[in-house]
């Protein structure tokens, strides 16, 4: 097991790992590996778009030990748990989803880890949860909604620190299933470029079909 170029992310062979903040506990069905007394959780790129982007060569992600992250579309906490591992005890992840069913599981994950603040809320209405969070270093969004880019921009304007990073996962089919994914990605890119510096962009095929992840930097 060795440290990767990214702080808080480890590699062994072709697999990525994060150091388990809650040793002994699995969040989904990931493998746990102990090396020299430290437990790591395998970070599966077919289950996490962020891991997929890293595997596809995204050079940075803005999330590091101590970061404050707003995660929109947290679901049951698969990716959130790895972000929680990376930011560690000094950081915090505000994890939001609007579906009570998945938030129920997310709360259990939060209770095991100590650095996840779960929120049942609608990402399209940042004002409704503004009093529950603070300004953040990173906004990560994966909501598979029609107006994904609009929701993302609204949240970044409201909560992202100057110089902070925004990560946006786009699912082409939820924007418009009739259009070609490439074209949708281009349109989103143009929309983001008006607001941020688009630092990197990775299509996630074949790990996630018709998805891509944008990395932006706030000006």
């Amino acid at each position: 097991m060795k440290a990767s170029k990214l702080q808080g992310v480890y590699e062994e062979g072709r697999s990525l790992y994060t150091q388990n903040l809650a040793p002994g506990i699995r969040v989904y069905d990931e493998a746990l590996v102990t090396v020299k007394g430290i437990e790591y959780r395998e970070w599966n790129p077919t289950k996490s778009k962020l891991a997929a982007a890293l595997v596809k060569g995204m050079p940075q992600m803005g999330i590091k030990p101590g970061s404050i992250v707003l995660y929109l579309g947290a679901s049951t906490g698969t990716t959130v748990s790895h972000v929680s591992d990376i930011v560690g005890k000094e950081g915090i992840v505000f994890a939001l989803d609007f579906a009570p069913r998945v938030v129920r599981d997310l709360v259990f994950v939060a209770e095991q880890r100590g650095n996840i603040a779960p929120i049942l809320g609608d990402a399209a209405q940042p004002k409704t949860y503004a009093h529950r969070i603070c300004a953040v270093d990173v906004v990560y969004q994966d909501v598979a909604q029609k107006d994904q880019a609009g929701i993302f921009i609204k949240n970044c304007r409201e909560f992202l620190m100057p110089g902070g990073f925004g990560l946006l996962a786009i699912k082409a089919r939820s924007v418009d299933i009739a259009k070609k994914p490439k074209q949708i990605f281009r349109e989103v890119r143009d929309q983001l470029a008006k607001e941020f510096t688009v630092v990197d962009y990775r299509e996630l095929d074949p790990l996630e079909k018709d998805h891509c992840l944008f990395l932006c930097k706030n000006r």
Binding site: V103, V107, A110, A117, I119, R132, A135, E158
Partner: protein, 299 residues
Amino acid sequence: MKYQYSSIIGDVVFDNQFHVVEQGHNLFKKYPNLQEPDEHHKVKIQMAMRDKKFFAAFVKDNIAQTKQDVKRSVIPDNHIVHAVNLLEELDTLINTIVKRLREWYELWNPEFSKSIQSHEKFCELIAIKKNEDLLKEINIDRKHSMGAEISPKDQDAILQLARRCRDLYTLRSSTQSYAESLLQENYPNLCTVAGSAIAGKLLGHAGTGRRLVMMPASTIQLLGAEKALFRHMRNKRSPPPKYGLLFQHPFVQSARKSEQGKHARALADKLSMAVKIDYFKGVYCGDRLKKELEEKFNK
């Protein structure tokens, strides 16, 4: 000048530079003349709240709040959807194991099994009656039966399964009544226009009544036909679907083939109206809606 801010972690008082003066519970009455911050102060406040000493409280208080929110999120629709989905699962499950039961039982008494078509009646009868009596009922002499002599242990294993099948039928029917009564209570208009079976399936597909209410009628018309719809949108040579689960409705079933699409469209319109009336607790007018639908095509 000092400012007050209500955060999930409690009250926070800021000075005019937006540094935190104090944070705690029920603070504001300690300070006279606190101001409400306006929109552009909010940015500074959000930044001041980044202090590490607040993190533990952010985690703890958000967990507590979210638990309450999840608790309060449960609505009748959740129960309806579980019951409707359970019905479908029970049908599959019962079908699978009753087939197994028949095959197994027919080693012992094939004639009785063949004499009775209804799976449910079959399970009921073999679970409660003695084998000799069943043979008598169909006038078969044990000697002429193709059924093998099997040990009491074998018989018991088969009858155990029969009793479980019978229990599952009971569960199925009580679940159905339960779903129907919830649907009647919460979606009376939708039930009248759609029938409770289709009303349940519509809700099952949408997940909640709220989502069904937000759907345009054209989406309701195609619920349950998602696969065909996606196929059509990716490849226009594949024909667009005309209906999904509305196909099961008598109003669509009874229409001429060439008219079924039109009927599904009109039905979807009425369903959309019906569910809106239910959702916003309007007065019952299901019978009128149904009549309008039927009259529209009878002219």
